[in-house]
Assembly symmetry: C2
Homo-oligomer: 310 residues x 2
């Protein structure tokens, strides 16, 4: 009931499963329905104003979304929104899950870089062969690291590598305090020992790492991608790795999942993980805490967080 | 020549090789000789007042040191001084190489912890088998990390893990601001998800991680040692790892080097590296910069840094 005495109907929220309902809990002014995407939809689902995307998993289809005519907001549980952008109906606000997986994805980027710099794959083989042979070795100290993507993930990566004595450069879409712009890529690439990609997939970042980008990297440089596979031109990377000139760590690929028989699986100098940067235990607690925050903001008239497109 | 007009004879410094001589460079009031430890010694070597230990490598013998009757200072290039302590002649000041390998050793500790938490060995096997299978996964976020050893290495490890969202406890010989004392070990061990050992080998730390210590750790906990092998009772760790209850990462072992056929090589849940935490490329630049600093302090009457025993 408002001050003027009107009865405000509750906001209809649609969650992907019962676990989500449990973690979001009771929110004043909100009515919750759980929907697995199956058709036809119930009247309650049809009344959905605030939809939470399932995680992990792809977007709903345009057909499924067409059954939610009252939809105002889609809240994702992933940092990347690229797969949803083509299906978001006009006028619907899309919000990302920025912050939910940022630390764990940054952590994986750090783990991939360190496992390559410190040659852990080689030492694991030596361990299997009972071979105690330290050999010459590298560390990140005094090395130059470029982090492409100055958001949640990139910020954490930069902080950790700075603490480990590296010279870190953060690069964003455009220059701002502490961040250089993407237009300086050609100038800074030849100086880098390590390049970490933590950018969303946009028109600007699709195919960013092509043959020309890779050719600018110095011998022995390390490329790590924890963003989206299509930021890298896979064929160009396969060709460059085949020469042994570069090393790489990829948590995301194009195509993804990488099919059996693809040459990338056995590229020399590559550590490959199957898109497991986010989604670590506890992501759902953080994710549905964000949903709860967004619902509280929506029902109290505050602006939503993490708006990707409106 | 002093103010009073006396001629001060140069301080005789003994370095282990020509690379050291090149990196230390000219220091006013200092005369340098290079000695590989062979006997008999030249008159210049016999005049040594300031000796730099070779790195990597063990201590000189008491017999070798007995030929340096004017010795006042031994400067090590390693953080650990344990192997030298028994041979240091009475009245000679022993200084460690604290700071020379700290960042790279901390970096390895981080790399070992992350490779275990993020299961990189399993993903490397999956990569070899062309298997895209993320599965349930863990991250350090919100986990409890105990760093035993609050020195140069431990401080860096704590900083990185704090940046990655872990709850870090630093433990030193005795409590001080931001550091709890070793006497609290029994109280805090059962809460830890990760324990990192970065302590020198002393009477107090030898065999610290015994069967009782390991039994206090919770199921699935991770133990990482980048200090000295004898801090861990190897047989106790082998027995505990055999049950699959704990995971571990070791850069140091007892015995070391680990002989072929030793059961530790194939302990389940263990990542083993052959004492390669320090000694990364560039250590010598940092190390001989420290030597130069110490010589400048010595010749100008300032107190030496990193004094272990006097």
């Amino acid at each position: 009931v408002t001050e003027s005495g009107d009865v405000v109907p509750p906001t209809q929220v649609c969650l992907p499963d019962e676990r989500a309902r449990e973690l979001v809990g009771e929110v004043s002014g909100v009515r919750v329905v759980v929907w697995d995407g199956s058709l036809p939809v119930s009247p309650e689902v049809a009344a959905t104003e605030f939809l939470v995307g399932r995680y992990p998993g792809g977007p709903l289809s345009a057909e499924q979304l067409s059954h939610l005519p009252h939809l105002r907001v889609i809240q994702l549980m992933s940092a990347g929104a690229d797969s949803w952008l083509p299906v978001v109906p006009p006028g619907v606000v899309l919000c990302s899950g920025r912050g939910v997986h940022g630390l764990s994805t940054a952590e994986l980027a750090v783990g991939l870089v360190l496992s390559i710099v410190r040659e852990l794959p080689r030492y694991l083989l030596q361990q299997a062969e009972e071979l105690w042979q330290p050999g010459p070795r590298e560390s990140l100290s005094d090395k130059r690291v470029l982090v492409v993507g100055a958001g949640d993930i990139g910020g954490h990566v930069g902080e950790v590598f700075t603490a480990l004595g590296a010279f870190v450069t953060l690069m964003g879409r455009s220059a701002r305090a502490g961040v250089i712009g993407l237009d300086q890529l050609g100038d800074v690439l030849p100086d880098q020992d390590v390049v970490v990609l933590a950018v969303p997939l946009t028109a600007q970042t699709t195919g960013l790492v092509d043959q020309e980008f890779l050719a600018l990297l110095k011998d022995g440089a390390i490329l790590v991608n924890v963003g989206r596979g299509a930021t890298v031109v896979t064929a160009a990377l396969v060709a460059e790795l085949a020469t042994g000139r570069l090393r790489a760590g990829l948590d995301v690929t194009d195509p993804e999942p990488l099919p059996p028989g693809h040459p990338l699986w056995h590229s020399p100098g590559l550590v490959l993980t199957p898109h497991m940067g986010g989604g670590t235990r506890g992501w759902d607690v953080r994710g549905y805490r964000l949903v709860r925050t967004q619902l509280e903001r929506l029902t109290s008239g505050q602006p939503l967080l993490n708006v990707v497109s409106a």
